[in-house]
Subunit: 315 residues, 2 copies
Amino acid sequence: MKIPTFEDVKTASDRIRPYIHRTPVLTSSYLNERVGAQLFFKCENFQKAGAFKARGATNAVFSLSDKAAEKGVCTHSSGNHALSLSYASGRRNIPCHVVMPRTAPTAKKDAVRGYGGVITECEPSTSSREAVFSELQAKMGGDFVHPYNDPRVIAGQGTCSLELIEQADGLDIVVAPIGGGGMVSGTCLTLSTLAPETEIIAAEPEQADDAYRSFKAGHIIADDAPNTVADGLKVPLKELTWHFVSNHVTDIFTASEKEIIDAMKLTWKRMKILIEASCAVPLAIILKNPDRFRGKRVGVIITGGNVDLDTLPWI
Amino acid sequence: MKIPTFEDVKTASDRIRPYIHRTPVLTSSYLNERVGAQLFFKCENFQKAGAFKARGATNAVFSLSDKAAEKGVCTHSSGNHALSLSYASGRRNIPCHVVMPRTAPTAKKDAVRGYGGVITECEPSTSSREAVFSELQAKMGGDFVHPYNDPRVIAGQGTCSLELIEQADGLDIVVAPIGGGGMVSGTCLTLSTLAPETEIIAAEPEQADDAYRSFKAGHIIADDAPNTVADGLKVPLKELTWHFVSNHVTDIFTASEKEIIDAMKLTWKRMKILIEASCAVPLAIILKNPDRFRGKRVGVIITGGNVDLDTLPWI
């Protein structure tokens, strides 16, 4: 599979500009004081479709030839990629079929349908997801836009840190959550070219720590059905994302379910923004390892804000 | 009592600048499409102490002479003014005593104490609040900074729309929630000078509609203990705020408890920001009266984001 280059990120940036937001970077004097660092939160929860995944999905959809686009696109996703691909397909007015776990948050399923995507449900495991998807794809056709193991998607996600380093220069560290590794790979792709001195730290739930174990072992370890409140981070690394993680990530830290939920609630309370559990993992690991971050300028990627408001994890 | 002038707003703007945020104006393509208007949300939920009241409180605290400041300040408040005054007093390092209803949200009481304010509790009625406060003030001394019937406070709140019209020009209408009328009065003060063609519409809970009834009757009508989820809007108009409301407000609309909660949840879900029930009332009345707003450029003042995350009104 083709490894995307920084040129692909620049092309993606121009291609997706009409369809996505340049999201703001927010700061919190309370959190800066508490950690003893300067934190810069790149707020992709304000992105179109509520998550950074709009970047990669839009890049994939708009890089299709007119002929390829006719058949539309299809994918499997725990949620945000599904609705981002539906959003992007709607902008290009092409069909979009997605396989989602039946346990995915109602808010995300509603949003997929709102953008015109068609959902087929599977069980909440990688094996079920892939089996149901194969069947769907055979039936419907359409270009498969993998949620992360796709060079077009990784190049699209790379546009996020392209903006971040313009908005907050001289970052010592960028922390991003890691599931399948799409955002982390895009971050590696951009920063290894533009800011090679910036460390990239990935943040992962203890209960879905396959990337952490892969990183330590030196090869991909994939769990079939991990269970965590951070529902966007249950999927395993694949060949392309492993390439970037193994070559460019400085370290991976993990956080417990309680630490993730506490960091999520703290962000809501202090910053007045809605963030998903998945993107509370970076703050959770920062609060857990203050010595690693003290005195540094730290970019924190807030990956999404699609939360089921009727079932908050602390209530 | 002295009626503040636009000069006082300009003085306040310079005085408070080091201590408050110039808050962002956000938009939502979803809400614009749904209403058929262009809505500009002035996000005072991102303000210091989580609410616009930091503006008026800071202006009052920093306009005290050094001698007057020694004895500190005191007030009564349903919450946001209490914590804003505590915040401002902390910045000037002077004592701050506040009377709060025992039913005020825990999040607000915690925040007051976090900023160094000292709380005395009262029953949730205007009569109890005023009685407990008189006793406290006699005992502690200190300058009384009324939550809204104070020219320093109104001039401070006027700095919010000063920013808003710089950030979103040519507004046809500005909508703000009304309780005691401090924000609405500050808005009148600024807009009647700088943008006299802009209509000012106040939004009030049906269950605490004393401003609406006052507006229709042509004199102040005060309820003692109204009950609404919009806890910041239970207090009555007073002479100074009545001056501005009766002279400059175009209209007052009301919304039911369900309409307020629905608008609050919709804002959280679509805009990914935490707003209090009190500042969902403007969106509630806009959604309820679309003909009044269609095709207009509408400023909406999001007054605060101090929510008790353990007791959300829709759960």
